[in-house]
Amino acid sequence: MSARGSGRSAFVALSLAIFKGFLRDKGAVFFSLVFPLMFLVLFGGVFSDQDQSKVDLIQVGEVRLVDDLPDGVDDAFAQTFDVTTSDDLDDALEQVRKGDADVAIEQRGDELVAHYTQTEQVKAAITQGTLSAFVDATNVAQLAAESGREPTYSFKAERVEDESLTAIQFVTPGLLGWAVAMSAAFGAAATLQGWRQSKLLRRLQLSPVRTSTMVAARIAVTVAVALIQMTIFLGLGAAAFGLTLTGSWWMAVPVLVVGTLCFMSIGLLAGAIAKTTEGAVNMANFFVLPMAFLSGSFFPLDTAPGWLRAVSNLLPLKHLNQAMLDVMVRGEGPASALVPIAILGGFAVVVTLVAARLFRWDTT
């Protein structure tokens, strides 16, 4: 049998062994897939709730104001209020009292009467202000119509989300970056330590498998896990939270691969320094978690102070997040990812060299 053939069968066997080991490690699966997904659901859910947080309004009987809203203003009204109609004032008031609805309105002659509670002060203020604004706008429009003159001022509502990014667009790349960083670093750290503790590394040294084959198998599995993470994140984001990807999102794949290598090297460093498996995982956590906060995985850095942004530029995760954000949701071209890829690759090379210097086959 040829040396190349045996190398390939060893590579496949090692990759399979590592991948099965990963899938059966409940802790690893939880922290690389389930845990980040919980954040995605949380962030995606919280922010999309905020988008559609309308005021629930019960219209009791006929309310001419609502029917007579002038053009343009009726759109704005529909965006602010969720209108249901009812004929029973007492029932409507009861609903408001219980908090099922925010406000009930009825018309008494020319007067618009709004019933609301003060328990939710912010919503009460919004309701009060908005309703009187609509009354004013309608009055103005009617006066203008009667006098035959155009009003001097007019009102137009425009949503801002189209201009910048909605929440899900922003959080998905950042959380994905964090998830990949975490599982790559933990995986490398824990495997290295685990194999060393269990003497497997020494046993493998005595098999004809080349060290490069062992390394390649470990990398292949980690990259495969990263691509699985990406598929699940993008799939769930698109299906459940309305994530829409922009043109060159595919460029996120090479970004993710290089990012994975970079964080594996950090995991290797942790594994090389630490003496135990737990120590290695803790050390990887120590590197990655603060980095996630400083690299825009959990909140945007756009509004962060200048010094913080300067620090974040030194962190590989920042560049991973940035590159994925640019190509996946900001509509930047594929070329925008080249510099971050180079930075991540550079990090990977340097950190791997340091880890290799510190590495010992044996714990003693």
Binding site: S6, A17, R24, S198, L204, L206, S207, R210
Partner: protein, 299 residues
């Protein structure tokens, strides 16, 4: 040509000299034992011969090839069981063995055959973490043999096994060199070495004290035989007075007579019709070991 040649190997860890100039030759097809108490340097010696540790001094060849530095031509011809079992995490026994088979470019059928040979077929789908100590040892031995190596090194294959499991494993081990394979094993157990090994090296303090077949070692020691007589059959005083008896003392099983001419003493006992429940124990490797190391036996 000997399968293994060890020439003046030495290794120190800081101040401590773990192996202190060991030279040995192991013939092809031989079953060779390294016997010694804890810390004697058995594992260190074995790891140097396997090519896992770099010796401070001396060198070793296996199948005519130097073992250091790592020799990719030699490795497929050698099988190794390390003292601590080395498994892929969370794989089942079968997956474990198949993975090792693939590392040596051996078909999976070989892995499944070995699973059967070491009696683990019914544990094929059990994860390695859930195997008992003895099952783990057997799997570990199978992993060392799956590629049918010409030379195998087994470091304490029967450690931590109950006596029954040890004897079961002996059956497996004793057949290993039938096909001309060379086997080197370390052990603390004298009975194990006596049963399995063609020759043993007795090691202590990093040195080899003696090398020979177990029978020859016992012979050269000229160890006395021990004859145990049923309680009450002979008084200690009377026994001491018998011709050929060197010493006698009481024990829980009866009176133990130490003698260098057991035939004569047995004849005397027969004359007096005191043979009921008599037991004769010849000198054992254990006596040799104690004599050589001067240490308490710490199996």
């Amino acid at each position: 040509m000997p399968a293994i040649v060890i020439d003046d190997l030495a290794k120190s860890y800081g101040e401590l000299t773990a192996v202190d100039g060991v030279s040995l030759e192991v013939g092809e097809g031989e079953f060779f034992g390294i016997l010694g108490p804890n810390g004697a340097g058995k594992t260190t010696l074995l790891e140097m011969v396997e090519g896992l540790r770099r010796p401070d001094r001396g060198n070793a060849t296996v199948l005519g090839l130097p073992v250091w530095p790592r020799n990719a031509d030699l490795l497929p011809r050698v099988g190794v069981q390390l003292q601590a079992s080395a498994f892929f995490e969370r794989l089942t026994a079968r997956e474990q063995l198949r993975t090792f088979a693939s590392l040596y470019s051996v078909p999976h059928t070989a892995a499944d055959e070995w699973l059967e040979r070491v009696g683990l077929l019914d544990k094929a789908d059990t994860r390695v973490e859930d195997l008992s100590g003895g099952q783990g040892q057997r799997l570990s031995i199978a992993c060392a043999l799956v590629h049918d190596p010409e030379v195998v090194f087994l470091d304490e294959p029967t450690a931590a096994l109950d006596p029954q499991a040890r004897r079961n494993l002996w059956d497996l081990l004793s057949g290993l060199n039938d096909s001309g394979r060379t086997v080197v094993l370390t052990t603390h157990y004298m009975d194990e070495a006596e049963v399995l090994c063609d020759r043993v090296a007795i090691m202590d303090g990093g040195r080899v004290l003696q090398v020979d077949s177990p029978a020859a070692l016992v012979r050269t020691l000229d160890a006395p035989a021990r004859i145990t007589v049923a309680p009450g059959a002979v008084a200690v005083e009377e026994a001491r007075g018998m011709v050929g008896v060197d010493d006698a003392h009481e024990s829980v099983d009866g009176v133990v007579l130490t003698t260098r001419s057991p035939g004569r003493v047995l004849a005397l006992l027969a004359e007096r019709d005191r043979l009921d429940g008599v037991r004769v124990q010849a000198g054992t490797l254990e006596d040799v070991f104690l004599d050589l190391t001067g240490r308490a036996y710490r199996a």
